[in-house]
């Protein structure tokens, strides 16, 4: 089996250059590629276009890359929890494309699956539809949406094997599987890296064909945004 293992995050991201388009997995702070983000901060690349459902918080996740002004543009569905984001947006330093969450997920899935365009009802009659083709099917209106692809996808999984196969845990799966397929180069960080053959082939969420580099991450913080408990 083809071996995709690299030593660590620094090695994995080293050829990411200024003005690249990146996809970063995660929903809120759950399932984000913490190690790859840290390595990007260290690498110091600028002018990045980041496709990610959210933009992190001020001091964690993509928020860290906003602080260092490495991000030129965010493509997201919701960017609510970040004051620095708001400041840069209002000052014109940062551009943002807001996309309905389902359309974002499906456009990324389409990118990985070689489907350049598809019709969805989300956004019909709204400003999301501006400039887009609309068409009626079976008496309902739909918008034509296009695929999204990235130069690099940075994803985070629970377990992975040396062949690049990935298994996610809980709701930390979210955007990670589609992004893994939509990156020209996909970098996967995992909490536990195991030999090829150690994962049940039936349990694999992302087949290794989509993953070009894999490494075992370290020091996962897994910060919780809304710690809600019952008594």
């Amino acid at each position: 089996m083809i071996n995709k293992v690299v030593a660590n995050a620094e090695v994995a991201v080293q050829d990411i250059t200024d003005n690249c388009t990146l996809m970063l997995g995660g929903f809120g702070l759950s399932g984000i590629p913490e190690n790859s983000i840290a390595a990007l901060l260290k690498l110091g690349v600028k002018g990045l276009t980041c496709i990610s459902n959210n933009a992190g918080v001020d001091d964690f996740g993509i928020g860290l890359m906003l602080k260092t002004k490495q991000v030129k543009k965010m493509i997201s569905s919701y960017v609510g929890e970040n004051a620095e984001f708001e400041r840069q947006l209002l000052s014109g330093e940062l551009a943002v494309d807001l996309i309905p969450q389902g359309s974002l997920a499906e456009r990324i899935r389409a990118g990985g699956a070689g489907i350049p365009g598809f019709f969805t009802p989300a956004g019909v009659g709204t400003e999301v539809a501006e400039g887009k083709e609309t068409r009626e099917f079976n008496g309902k209106m739909y918008l034509l949406e296009s695929w999204l692809r990235a130069d690099f996808s940075l994803v985070k999984a629970w377990k992975g094997d040396t062949a690049g196969n990935l298994i996610f845990k809980g709701t930390a799966r979210n955007f990670n599987p589609m992004m893994a397929a939509a990156g020209v180069v996909t970098i996967a960080e995992v909490e536990e890296l195991v030999p090829a053959g150690a994962l049940d082939p039936n349990h694999i969420h992302t087949p290794g064909i989509y993953v070009q580099r894999i490494f075992q991450g370290v020091n996962y913080e897994k910060r919780i945004e809304q710690r809600t408990v019952s008594s």
């Binding site: 809120g28 569905s77 309905p100 969450q101 499906e106 989300a122 019909v124 709701t171």
Partner: protein
Amino acid sequence: MSLDKIGIAKRIAQEIRTGWYINLGIGIPTLVANYIPDDIDVVLQSENGLLGIGPFPKEEHVDPDLINAGKQTVTMLDGSSLFSSAESFGMIRGGHVDLTILGAMEVSEQGDIANWKIPGKMVKGMGGAMDLVASADNIIVAMQHVSRSGDSKLLSECTLPITGLNCVKKVVTNLAVLEIVPAGGFKLLETAPGVSVADIQAATAGKLIIEGEIPEMQLT
């Protein structure tokens, strides 16, 4: 006497039928879960990739890898399942979710909804709201009848940027339960306890349809 948030949530819970898969938005809709009767068997969907949302965890069971769409830590139930965001919105778009309950800033008498953007304010994004309202067959809005500044939120046409067209089926407010009829208009179904039809008329800018005697809500 108008309803508080819990009252609105309790009234909406009465709309729920056994066997339904339900997506609950943030705010009052989330509260609805607390008032679904035990003999009503439903499954709650979280659009970040979970079917079968359980109660909030005990402190020792908090798991950062298990959150709901409001980013709150949650638990699973026997029979829960996990999936990707693409699968989740496939479910939503494909019409597999039976009921969507969400908040709104404005609803029009055509069933249009505005709930994502206020011009001049920082726009945080629509999240999954546009997908939900464009896809669901049965959408109930939970909101206050009038805004903090006293303006009716039930209008002939929305003034704020639209989230979706012709989609809302029912509105439950602090004052009333209203159905949006196909020809356009808010048909008054029930009044909140102690609220008069005249009160509701005064608080409704869009076309209000009043037919016969209007019963008062029965809340337990």
